[in-house]
């Protein structure tokens, strides 16, 4: 795919709809992410955040609508996780980005191994690169964790770090983080937020999905609010204080409760 440099958006969704059977999960989703922008995607459980992520990262296609990556229209018939990776979209899922019983070097390269023509893995090369990523990209120096450690030995923050380091190594233009700080201690959350700042500093884009308004407000340039499969808010950080954002979300939750009762 040749890149269109005039395009200001890393990603653009136009009128995306998704049905699971007869259940409507997403309705008329239109949103965009700038080339060096961190977008906070906010919404309650079941708002459709994960569905949005899965569509743009190629896990499944939408029922209708259009997706543009760096200005190029995506053909959903030929779209897949592999293709999304080729387009520079990397997704870090909250608890399913790493195989827990597998060693780290395998986790760095699963799905895109360094192989010879017969499909056999170049283990030495993979371990070398994995070591390089751990030392230089995410700084795992001297903590008793090596490329031969199993993921099950890592803390939650370290796991997110591995997944983000992997995304950065594969030169992602857009990194999607799905609830990266759930169930992490404050110190670990701090680490993850630092990883996200490195994405911004590297000139890349990020979609940061979270329940935690505090994290999102701290890190994001813009907020997109989803509710029951629809975009209900699209706000620049400069236009809203944290208190107002809180109030906006609370009002929304209450407003919908009122509707239900009526």
């Amino acid at each position: 795919m040749t890149e269109n440099l005039a395009e200001q958006y890393a990603l653009r969704m136009v009128n995306i709809e998704k049905y699971f059977g007869r259940v409507c999960a997403l309705r008329n989703i239109s949103l965009e992410v700038g080339r060096n922008e961190i977008v906070g995607l906010i919404g309650d459980n079941g708002a459709g955040k994960s569905t949005v992520v899965k569509i743009l990262s190629g896990v499944f296609p939408p029922t209708s609508g259009e997706l543009y990556v760096a200005g190029r229209k995506v053909d959903f018939n030929a779209y897949s996780v592999k293709r999304a990776h080729e387009y520079g979209i990397e997704t870090v899922y909250q608890d399913k980005s790493l195989g827990e019983k597998q060693v780290l070097w395998r986790n760095f390269f699963i799905g895109r191994q360094v192989t010879n023509q017969l499909g056999f893995i170049d283990v030495r090369k993979e371990r070398e690169i994995a070591n390089e990523i751990m030392l230089n990209m995410i700084g795992f120096r001297g903590r008793g964790i090596t490329v031969d450690s199993k993921v099950s030995k890592l803390s939650g923050g370290e796991r997110q770090g591995i997944a983000i380091g992997r995304a950065m190594y594969f030169e992602a233009e857009l990194i999607v983080l799905d609830e990266p700080t759930v169930a992490l201690s404050l110190k670990e959350v701090g680490k993850v937020l630092n990883f996200v700042r490195q994405i911004k500093a590297g000139g890349k884009a990020c979609i940061y999905i979270s329940h935690n308004i505090q994290d999102v407000y701290e890190i994001a340039d813009r907020f997109i609010i989803l509710d029951r499969g629809e975009v209900v808010g699209n706000l620049l950080k400069g236009d809203i204080t944290r208190e107002d954002l809180d109030t906006f979300l609370l009002d929304y939750a209450h407003g919908l409760q009122d509707k239900e009762e009526a």
Partner: protein
């Protein structure tokens, strides 16, 4: 002390070493209880002749179980493949028919495996149900086609394929043992060094992780069951050629020994982790027990009981010395011996935290 611990940890990392030691220990016990039999080479040659078909099935099964699935249909494939091969030879009675029969038998295994995989990956039938149904169905088809009769193919003796697959090296060593060893080596590389094997490991670990990382889970599962079909068909060929006869119930006794070989080898039923080396030695342990017990002149009624005890003991051994446990165990033992020592007390929580 520290050095000893490093050595223990290092030895613990060698794949299949504990299970290999169990096999050696078992032979030592049999040498003591039945020296006349187990000090000669004949009994070992007999194991090398009888174990390979079960071993081959167990090697394929290791992949299936590592992927978090199960295949109960391989005994039927052993029968179906033997039938196809024997029928071709009986019907055409020519040297070329042996080769064609050989290839056809493998193709039948691939077809049955492919159908299993398709039902499991595309329709979403749980593998235990799909392959249980397949076991009944294909076994039934084989009996029906064979008319319940056995086929004598002693005419293949002396042919090239016969000596190539089940001949005797230097007139002593059964060649099928070398095929079993070669297949084990090949499959070790596929599981541990090939992208397909890595996909199997991640699917067994967590299919969702595999999917979001770009592994084609459905296609990999279909390939997995197809491969297992071919492997089981190969086991059927080794068996049929060795005994020079196809009989309709062949392979039906393989199910439990093959499963036992995989599990005592140390492959986890939870998936995501499997050991070909462990399965290899596991199959020889299972295959040696009966002869060993009988040769020890204990009543034959004891065979099953001893098998049960050995299996349970080995599985418990695998759990006790699993990942990182060797170090913890040696700490624990030191702690028991000299609980007052500050050093060992300080080391305990550290190793726990490393986990």
């Amino acid at each position: 002390m520290r050095r000893a611990r490093t050595i223990v940890t290092f030895l613990g990392r060698i794949e299949g070493l504990p299970i290999a030691l169990v096999l050696v220990a078992l032979y030592i016990v049999f040498i003591l209880t039945a020296p006349r039999v187990f000090l000669g080479y004949r009994i070992y040659m007999s194991f090398l002749q009888t174990v390979p078909p079960v071993l081959v099935c167990a090697l394929g099964l290791t992949f299936v179980i590592t992927a978090g699935e199960i295949d109960l249909s391989f005994p039927a494939i052993v029968a179906a493949s033997g039938f196809v091969f024997a029928w071709m030879f009986k019907t055409f009675d020519a040297p070329w028919a042996i080769w064609i029969g050989f290839v056809l038998a493998l193709a039948v295994g691939a077809l049955i495996g492919y159908i299993n995989g398709w039902l499991i990956a595309k329709i979403g039938v749980p593998s235990i149900m799909a392959t249980l149904a397949a076991q009944f169905f294909w076994y039934g088809v084989t009996i029906l086609l064979a008319g319940g009769l056995q086929l004598d193919i002693s005419g293949i003796r002396g042919s090239i394929p016969h000596s190539l697959f089940v001949g005797r090296l230097f007139d002593v060593v059964p060649v099928q043992a070398l095929w079993g060893l070669a297949l084990a080596a090949f499959l070790w590389f596929i599981l541990n060094r090939h992208a397909f094997g890595e996909a199997i490991l991640f699917i067994g670990d967590n299919p969702e992780v595999a999917r979001v990382m770009g592994v084609n889970v459905e296609a990999t599962r279909i390939k997995l069951f197809t491969m297992n079909g071919v492997i089981a068909a190969f086991a059927g060929l080794l068996l049929t050629m060795e005994i020079n006869v196809f009989f309709p119930t062949q392979g039906q006794g393989f199910l439990l020994p093959a499963l036992a070989s995989v599990f005592i080898g140390g492959t986890s039923i939870a998936g995501g982790q499997g050991t070909i080396v462990g399965t290899f030695f596991g199959a020889y342990i299972i295959g040696s027990l009966e002869a060993g017990v009988v040769a020890s002149r204990i009543s034959g009624y004891w065979v099953q009981l001893v098998q049960g005890v050995v299996m349970a003991a080995v599985v418990i051994l695998n759990i006790v010395i699993g990942e990182g446990r060797v170090a913890r165990l040696s700490d624990r033992i030191r702690h028991w011996i000299m609980p007052a020592r500050l050093s060992s007390a300080a080391e305990l929580p550290r190793t726990d935290a490393q986990r």
